[in-house]
């Protein structure tokens, strides 16, 4: 089953299940990138409240997804990291997560909006002279 992606205004929202598979990750990346490319969204907030652990594979998947969104001109924010997850990631080593983060979904949505505004709008908007 595909991980559902919801759209709230110009932001895509997704919440990762605890038993996420490689195939679901690939489908999610494709779906999110297609929506961004179609001009339906400026960014993606990935919520990991439900994820029971974030191991190095999951960390890599998250960072890669963020990188894909970023090179398409979008913004990706990770939200809902629990304290135990953060502590464990730091204990395992630095630089496991390479992406913007926010406390929760609401903060993630606000961060996407703020980052889009701070760079002067959407990446594909032609500046008006």
């Amino acid at each position: 089953m595909r991980v559902p992606i919801l759209r709230l205004g110009r932001v895509l929202l997704t919440s990762l299940p605890s038993d996420l598979t490689d195939q679901q990750v690939m489908d999610l990346q494709i779906d999110a990138l297609a929506l961004i490319q179609a001009g339906k969204a400026d960014g993606l907030v990935i919520d990991i409240t439900a994820a029971d652990v974030v191991d190095s594979y999951m960390a890599r998947m998250l960072s890669e997804t963020a990188k894909m969104v970023t090179i398409m001109g979008g913004i990706a924010v990770l939200a809902g990291m629990r304290p135990a997850v953060a502590l464990t990631l730091v204990e395992m080593g630095q630089n496991m997560i390479h992406m913007e983060t926010a406390f929760d979904l609401e903060g993630g949505v606000a961060k996407v909006a703020r980052l889009v505004a701070s760079r002067g709008g959407r990446h594909d908007e032609v500046p008006t002279v």
Binding site: S18, D19, L20, T21, D22, D52, V53, V54, D55, S56, Y57, A59, R60, P83, A84, V85, L87, T88, E91, M92, G93, M96
Partner: protein, 137 residues
């Protein structure tokens, strides 16, 4: 009298088995008085070792979980063993940033930092055995 050790084994061949193994590991640790953060650390280590079994071996492997010890000093031991390809250069595999599968290359070194004890033995063509343990502080 020392209580009987609490043991369970999980055969890991798919990502679903990894989910089961790490959930069981967390419950085992919580049952033996580990706090949420330490139990989460053990579950993460099991996830790393389990994903290695899924990604690096053709037939998967076994994860043995054991908890033992008296009230004051419980320990959870995690053993991951497989009959996979083996690791030719363990020192290299334990280096940060080294990966043969395009991973982050911090799975094994990260697991070592997470756990109180960590030992790895491997023979090319025969398999790999990783033993690690966390003590309850």
């Amino acid at each position: 009298m020392k209580p009987e050790p609490d043991r369970l084994d999980v055969r890991v061949t798919s990502e679903m088995d990894v989910v089961e193994a790490r959930q069981k590991a967390r419950l085992l640790a919580l049952r033996h008085g580990f706090g949420t953060v330490r139990a989460h650390g053990i579950a993460t280590a099991v996830s790393e070792l389990g994903m290695n079994l899924v990604l690096h071996t053709a037939r998967g492997g076994l994860i043995h979980l054991t908890a033992q010890g008296e009230a004051g000093a419980a320990v959870v031991e995690v053993v991951a063993e497989d009959e996979g390809p083996g690791i030719p250069d363990i020192a290299l595999a334990m280096q940060d940033g080294y990966s043969t599968r395009g991973g982050l290359g911090c799975g094994l070194p990260g697991t070592r930092r997470l756990m109180d004890e960590f030992a790895i033995t491997s023979e090319v063509g025969r398999g790999t055995r990783i033993v690690c343990a966390m003590r309850r502080p």
